[in-house]
Symmetry: C2
Subunit: 206 residues, 2 copies
């Protein structure tokens, strides 16, 4: 079982190794990885040992092999089909974010209740009325939903998602959700990113 | 020195303890905290020990004292003044996010180069032209800047921030920034949140 702090770092390693591949770098040492990412080299070696030893004496670790191993563990070796519920400011920014597509997360639908938004297309993604949720989740084979509605709508949205076939929810709507009936949930609160920033500003460790 | 994984959890503890205070709860045990947050009770006790023992035998930990201690460590016991550079979809969603204000992060200015956006007000926050950056950072005493411009504008924006008096940057613009001349930097990539979600969907641990 991989510990949670290591899982958090896997995404950062994957982002770095993907950059290296696009620069044509084939091998890398744990020391180089540690320096680039501001980590302790022993921690990097311990993390990489969780998914097999690819290091070659004198060469270091094979970047392509590491990338493939990490992708399998994170589940990003396949494409996931995404929908956004609540296509206001935040929802629109996420529907159009290129960083999702390059990691295999493909936005395929948006949902809203505002008549001024329903029926439009954003970057080729159609905005449906929330009433069509179950029908579109099935026809578009949607795996993951991002919720960017007001907090007051969250409970109603979650009720409709149960039994819809959706397997994961990324929740921005401001109330902490726990896992529901086989749907994995991750809650995002960007205020936490600011608190982590003020921690390094206050402790001058950055 | 507090280890990074503990610092990550401090924000989650603070959010939980703030909810408890609003519900009038005065004491809590490490077991209750562990259950609510899906952590191991020994881990919770270890984390809380980093900032002093407030547990009273038979009562548990004083919630208000814990909140104050954590806030001092994270730097959220004071108010921070925020600006957003790039007031498009993402920038506007962050300028208006109530979750910032409730933790002491007060949006006071926006900046953009688009003539259709400059001069407007969002929730009482004025959108200035980017040319006025240095002047407004000084007059509005801005501590932290959130960057939500396109990736191509990032280097130009960072050049202007050096020497402007800003102490921290939260960067969404898609290119990894390292700390620059005394400015603490934190990079946010929401694709990482999706990867962490697919990790728990793939490993059914959630
Ligand atoms: N977690 C974070 O870090 C974070 C950051 C910024 C904003 N937010 C939150 O995200 C939400 C969206 O913010 P915004 O600035 O985009 O607001 P917004 O008002 O621009 O967008 C909300 C959208 O949701 C739609 N909506 C309302 N009820 C709905 C329902 N039942 N089904 C489908 N759509 C529905 C509205 O019509 C609107 O288009 C807010 O709750 C805000 O607090 C969270
Ligand atoms: N990191 C993440 O997780 C994440 C998620 C979503 C979007 N994004 C990124 O955030 C950025 C904004 O996304 P959006 O959907 O809001 O785009 P947008 O086009 O709606 O907004 C960009 C804004 O920046 C302004 N701008 C351009 N150059 C500027 C400059 N030099 N100074 C000031 N303002 C300037 C534009 O006029 C526009 O208003 C994009 O780079 C996008 O890729 C990142």
């Amino acid at each position: 079982k991989i510990p949670a702090p290591t899982v958090n770092r896997l995404s950062l390693y994957l982002k770095y190794f993907s950059e290296l591949t696009s620069q044509g770098v084939e091998y890398i040492s744990s020391g180089q990885v540690a320096e680039k990412m501001g980590l302790n080299p022993a921690q990097v070696r311990k993390d990489l040992a969780y998914f097999g030893k690819f290091g070659r004496r004198g060469f270091g670790y094979g970047v392509e092999q590491l990338k493939q191993e990490i992708s399998k563990i994170l589940g990003t070796h396949r494409q996931w089909r995404l929908a956004v519920i609540g296509t206001g400011n935040l929802g629109r920014a996420l529907l159009m974010y290129q960083g999702f597509l390059s990691r295999g997360f493909k936005p395929v639908a948006g949902f809203d209740v505002d008549p001024d938004k329903v029926g439009w297309e954003l970057d080729g993604v159609h905005i449906y009325h929330f009433d069509e949720l179950e029908k579109v989740i099935k026809s578009q084979k949607i795996d993951i939903v991002i919720i960017t509605t007001p907090k007051a709508s969250l409970d109603g949205v979650m009720e409709r998602l149960k039994g819809s076939g959706v397997k994961g929810v990324l929740n921005f709507a401001g109330k902490h959700l726990l896992e529901a009936e086989g749907i994995a949930v991750r809650n995002v609160d960007l205020a936490i990113e600011l608190e982590q920033l003020t921690f390094s500003m206050t402790n001058k460790e950055s």
